[in-house]
Each structure stands twice: as C-alpha cells, then as structure tokens.
C-alpha cells in the first residue's frame, strides 16, 4: 500500500523521468504519442478493435434509438425521422419491456450468487484434489464448451412434464411442469445457465488460487484455523479480484440472456415469464422491423448493467479497488 503511494508520488514529482527538464518542451512525436510511442503503436490494434467492435456499435445503437430507424437496402431512399426520446419513453412504459427487465432481475439474483458460491467452492475443492484432477476439471468445463442447442435438448428431456426430474420427484413434481410454469421457468433457466457456465468461472478461480501463497494457509493452520476458517479467512480474501471479475462477467453474460428463452422455453414462454430484454430486442429489432425501439431497450440495458457492475466493483472490490 505504502509503496504504491510512493510510486504515484514519484510519478507526479517527476513525470517525464530524469531526461525531462521542467522548462524544455518535449518533441512533437512525444506530445502526440506519449513518452513511449512504441507502446501506443502496440496498443493501437486493440484500440482499433475496441473502437470498431464495441464503441462504434454502441454509439450507432444510441443513434438508432433516437430515430424511427429500420434497416434498408443500400441506395434505398428511406425516411428515418429523429424521434428524440420517444423510443425510450415507449420502452420504459411498455409492460412487456418492464416484465423482461424484471425477469432478468430474477435470473441475476439466482444466477450470479449461485455462480460465485459454487465456482469458488468447487475451484477450492478441485485445487486440493490429487486423483482424477484433470478428469474432474474437464468434466466441469465440458458443458461450457458444448453448444447450447445440444445441452438445451438434454435439459428439455430432464425438465419436461414426464422427464427425469419429475419422475424422481413423483407426487411433489410441480404442476405445471418447470419450463411451462410461470413461476419456475426463469429460476430453471438460471439453474441451467449456472450449470453451463460454471466450468469457465471455476477456471478463473483456479487461476486465482495459484496466486494465494501457501504460507498464508500454513500460518492460519499454525494459528489453529481449520479448513472452513482457512477458506473464509485466506481463500476468499485471496481471490477477491477474481470474485469481482466473476461477479461482473456473470452479470454481463446473464443480462445478455437470449439462447435459453429462445430455445428452452419456446420464445420467452410461458406467457412472457422468461422473456429477457435481449430476446425482446431480437423480436422487436429483427423479427418485427423496429430496430430503433430495440436499440433503446439495448441502451437502457447497457446503463443498468454498468450501474450494477459499478456497484459490484464498489462493494465487492474492497479497498484494493
């Protein structure tokens, strides 16, 4: 902590390094590209990538959301009038849109904590496993790399009315069944996504666990801490940066939920109970030819996700952030 502060102070005191005199004007190339032009050059491809693949579509989405926009053939003369915030007003007063945000909220409340807890626990366990380590790691990772279309088929088989789960549950099986039950459809999807993505998040935690010094566990043990105490006092704080990353990534991917409502519940069913904002964007923007309205939903979603990510970073990141 103190060395970091010292470093910052040093940087402020002598920003141009030993060669930089306070009264001398730096050369033009340095003014444009900074002290290390090679660094700017090396980072340029990624900056370009970010600009083209992330920033440009986002700015264009904002532009679309402010117009009565629709996709047209090149050269076609079409009218796309500026409509101000009409699309936003329509989106924020549309019960279907609000329902979709509520649905995805339910999804995130289940999915994100479950993902964090399961992945950190399983990663810790996998980190200590001696036998079958590779097999177990691959087993958790397989669902993540398997196409959703394929695993959705398995889950449909398991969670259908006459499927495996209901057969096991017998008389206590829910009626209507999981995926056509308005109350259970979204939690079932949240469970599915948690299971499917767990392998990736376990991998992040496994990487983070390698950076937790063994000495800390030894010290904890010397102080009389058992495995549970060590987990909460050493492992959890030790992988905090990974936890923030998992929280943010799980929130972002969860907020972009599309494939599962599209395939698992047959188009956001039952009765819109599993419609997500992104699925609604697909319906409105691509199927119904209203990309301006869809873009407004998308921009609202981006803002909501950014706020959540900010809060996660603020509260889960701790002082190190």
């Amino acid at each position: 902590m103190s060395s970091r502060t010292l470093g910052r102070s040093a940087g402020v005191t002598n920003p141009r390094g030993p060669a930089g005199g306070a009264g001398r004007k730096p050369p033009a190339t340095q003014r444009v590209f900074g002290k290390n032009p090679l660094g700017a050059l090396l980072s340029a491809p990624y900056l370009l990538f970010v600009a083209l693949v992330f920033a440009y579509p986002l700015i264009f989405a904002v532009y679309m959301s402010l117009h009565d926009y629709f996709f047209s053939a090149p050269g076609a003369t079409v009218d796309r009038p500026f409509v101000g915030i009409d699309n936003y007003v329509e989106a924020l007063t549309d019960p279907e849109v609000l329902r979709s945000f509520l649905n995805v909220g339910v999804f995130l409340i289940i999915n994100v904590p479950l993902t964090v807890v399961l992945s950190i626990v399983l990663a810790t366990a996998l980190n200590r496993v001696v036998h079958l380590r590779a097999f177990l790691r691959v087993s958790f990772y397989v669902p993540y790399v398997t196409a959703s279309v394929a695993v959705v088929g398995v889950w449909l088989f398991m969670f259908s009315g006459g499927g495996l789960i209901n057969t096991v549950l017998g008389p206590i099986a829910p009626d209507p069944s999981w995926l056509i039950n308005p109350t259970l459809a979204m939690p079932t999807i949240a469970l599915f996504v948690t299971w499917k993505q767990l392998g990736f998040f376990i991998l992040l935690y496994l990487a983070a666990l390698q950076n937790v010094p063994n000495e800390l566990y030894e010290s904890a043990s010397t102080d009389g801490a058992g495995p549970v105490r060590s987990f909460f006092s050493v492992t959890v704080p030790g992988v905090r940066p990974a936890t923030v990353l998992v929280l943010v990534l799980a929130t972002i991917t969860g907020a972009n939920l599309f494939t599962e409502p599209y395939l698992l519940t047959g188009g956001g069913g039952p009765n819109g109970a599993s419609t997500s904002p992104v699925f609604l964007m697909y319906q409105q923007g691509l199927q119904q030819g209203k990309p301006g309205f869809a873009a407004a939903i998308g921009v609202v979603l981006v803002i909501v996700v950014l706020i959540i990510a900010l809060l996660q970073n603020r509260f889960a990141g701790g002082k190190e952030q």
Binding site: G75, I180, P270
Partner: protein, 433 residues
C-alpha cells in the same frame, strides 16, 4: 494521464467519425435501379434447403441454363440462419441479396418492401397480368396494400388435419370416416382417443410463443369458421368476433382437458405417436408416408362445413425479386420460366406442394389421378387465406399469439378480453400501414 487523455480523445474522435460516416450511409438515390430493370446477364437464385425443393431447384436451373447460355443462373440453397426471413433481411441490408429467392414468406414481404429490398413485379410490362392470369383470384391476397406485387404467389401447403388411422382403429373409431367435421365431433373423437389410451394427446400443435405458430392452430380454423376471412379486413382486426372466440374456445377446451399438450414436444409428435392428429400441409405426405398410416380431412368448424366449402391457411411460400439484382430483366424471365405450367408440374411431382395456380386439379389431371393422396390438397388449394399484408404483419401475429398463449394455451384470464385487447393492438398497427 495526459497521454491517456490524448489516446482517449483520439479514439473517441475516430469512433464519432465512424458513426457519423455510418449515419450518413444508406441514403441517396437508387441510381442504376432503372437500368437494372432492363439489364440482362447472369443471376443468382436461392431456394429452400429441403431435399425435394433442392432437387426441383437444381433441375429448373439446369433446364434454364441449357437454353440460355448468355444468361446463366447459379442456384444455391438459402444460407443457414435462425430463419430464412432473417437471412434474407440481413442480405437486403448488406446489399447481397440474390436476384430471386424461392422461399419468401408472405409475412415478411411487407418488411422487405419497406426496406427497399424488393422489386415491384407489376413494374414489368406483363408483371401484373402474368401473376393474375396464373394465380386467378388468389393473386389478390398477395397484392401490396398500396398496390403492386412485391411477391410472386408461388406455392401453397393448404393446412388440413392429418390423422393416424391405426390409432383411430385402436380407439374403436372409424379410421376411414372419422368424425372430425364439427367442434363437438372433434372433441368427442379426441376424448375417445386419449381416454382409450390410443394416444397420449389427440392433437399437439406447438404451444410455443413464436409469432408464426398462430398460422398452425388459430388461423386455419378461423379461416374455415369465417368462410375465408383474413385476420385483418379493411384495416380492422376480425378475430375478436364471435367466430374468433368460438375457435379460441375450441382450442382452449382441448388444452383444458389435456387433449393437447401445453408443453413443447421435442420432435414430431405425430410421427412419433405422441399425438393421433396433426395440423399440417401436403409437404408432410412424403414425410409421413412410411412412418404413419395416415388420412386427412379438412379443419373443423363449429357447425361442420362441407369439404368443398372449407377454407384454411395457405402456408404459402412465394418468390421475391430483390432490388440488389443487377440483371432484373433476366430474373423476371427466369421467374416466369420457373412458374410456367411445365415447371409447376415438376414442382408438384417432386415436392407434392401445390403451385398457386388457378384450376390446379384441371391443369394436372394425370398427376392427381396417379397420386390420389394429394387430390384433396389440390382441391383445398383453391380455398386458402393468407396472413395480413403490410410491414407490421409479424407484430400483428405476435400480438395475437401472446394473447392466445395466455388465454387459450395457459387458460389464464378472460379469453374474450384477451382477444379484444389483441385486436385493438392490431387495429393500431393496421392503421400505421
């Protein structure tokens, strides 16, 4: 810090420039469009990717190319995507649409037209007359609301009730003359099928929320009940009236009594023996012929309608001539060639789908004599109803579907109120045009 600011400022400026460049794109005149109408040369066409239509498409292209060495056609299957409509829509936006697509859904035509992606076939000298002469009275359903033809009515798959004769026999029902013409008969037959254990479900249309599913449960029966009325007539939704409510009540009874499944079946319920009946068109004949001992009857109505008077949904697929085409004169000639009496006969022979041609049974008497299973579909093809025209078709169908899944399939809320609310939304969309 300063360097960061500079880089950020540079990146922001670049992005803003890109955005502005993009924002200014897409406008302008359609220079060269008039030249394209009279231009001739090689063209590309897309056709559907099912085995039978691929065989027809290849044969048609081969026949054209043999006679027209200077105007060669390249045929290919429509690229894979979530749906053909989305692939075509993306191709229109990118300017990469082919000249002709032999798989253009009528529900998507309004949007394609709004995108500036389609050529008005009536702009060709013999365009309107050719379409009207070939398709007869049916052609009117494919005319754009503001005039012109942005699609060539090509083929239909008039939807009927397929039933499994073996299951009917197992249930003690007459497999040759099943009682399925009135709602009461249909429900009684359905109850017998399920209660006897002959089939888990009587009929099992997809209970999912996609807009197009409306075309395979509510719409065919609504067309039959109303004697050929569309979902929207004269700019007003028609489905919230007595006939629409009767149709919805009929389906609701099937779901409420467990005669139809509320859960999506993975696979083909009819072929797998999960349901004793299905509501499909003649494309299914070749699919079911070896799997099911089937029969077919017209869709039911509340009081029972004679087969020769029963209407249904067309499930048509048409042909669009796309504005990205550089040799539109050739494309129009290919389109006429592909929809000629000879090629329509080939289509019928290879696919069993009904060309949207007036007097179909009289035009191909030999085919229907040799293939009696298709005769009733050939007859039914003369009485079909299409989805509403215009750029809001999909949204209209989605609004109806949302009300239907809630009030009919799930049985939530008041059915009449749900249909009325959907009709009000559709009215507003119809007013937009």
């Amino acid at each position: 810090m300063q360097r960061r600011t500079r880089i950020a400022a540079t990146a922001t400026a670049a992005v803003a420039l890109l955005a502005l460049t993009a924002c200014s794109g897409g406008g302008g005149g359609g220079g060269g469009a008039s030249d394209a109408v009279s231009a001739r040369g090689d063209i590309t066409i897309w056709y559907s990717n099912n085995e039978q239509e691929v065989a027809w498409g290849k044969a048609m292209v081969e026949a054209w190319n043999a006679e027209n060495p200077d105007e060669q056609v390249t045929g290919q299957e429509i690229p894979a995507g979530k749906s053909s409509e989305e692939v075509i829509g993306a191709a229109i936006t990118a300017g990469t649409a082919p000249c002709l697509v032999f798989n253009t859904a009528p529900s998507a035509v309004g949007q394609f037209q709004k995108q500036g992606g389609l050529v008005d076939l009536a702009s060709f000298e013999d365009g309107a007359s050719y379409i009207e002469e070939r398709s007869g009275e049916s052609a009117a359903q494919y005319e754009a609301p503001d005039g012109g033809y942005f699609q060539m009515p090509w083929k239909s798959n008039p939807v009927m009730i397929f039933y499994n004769k073996d299951m009917f026999a197992t249930a003690g029902l007459d497999p040759e003359n099943p009682e399925l013409s009135t709602y009461d008969d249909f429900l009684a037959t359905s109850r017998t099928l399920v209660e006897s254990g002959a089939a888990p479900f009587a009929i099992n249309p997809a209970p999912t929320s996609e807009f197009f599913q409306t075309q395979f449960d509510f719409l065919p029966l609504f067309a039959a009940e109303t004697g050929g009325m569309g979902l929207v007539e004269d700019g007003k939704a028609t489905f919230a009236g007595d006939e629409g409510i009767a149709v919805a009540e009929f389906w609701k009874t099937l779901y409420d009594e467990g005669l139809s499944g509320r859960e999506q079946y993975q696979g083909d319920a009819f072929a797998d023996g999960e349901a004793a009946m299905a509501i499909v068109g003649p494309w299914a004949v070749s699919v079911y012929q070896d799997a099911v001992n089937w029969g077919a009857v017209p869709v039911p109505t509340s009081d029972g309608t004679a087969p020769e008077d029963t209407y249904t949904f067309s499930d048509a697929k048409n042909v669009g001539l796309y504005s990205a085409c550089e040799n539109q004169a050739t494309a129009w000639d290919v389109l006429k060639f592909a929809t000629s009496e000879e090629q329509d006969g080939q289509l019928l022979e290879l696919t069993g789908q009904m060309p949207l041609r007036a007097n179909l049974p009289d035009t191909y008497p030999d085919y229907f004599e040799a293939n009696p299973a298709y005769t009733q579909f050939g007859d039914q093809a003369a009485r079909t109803v299409e989805v509403p025209a215009g750029s809001n078709t999909v949204e209209m169908l989605q609004d109806l579907r949302d009300a239907y899944t809630r009030a009919v399939i799930s049985g939530e809320g008041d059915l009449e109120e749900a249909l009325t609310a959907a009709a009000e939304k559709v009215d507003a969309l119809a007013e937009e045009g």
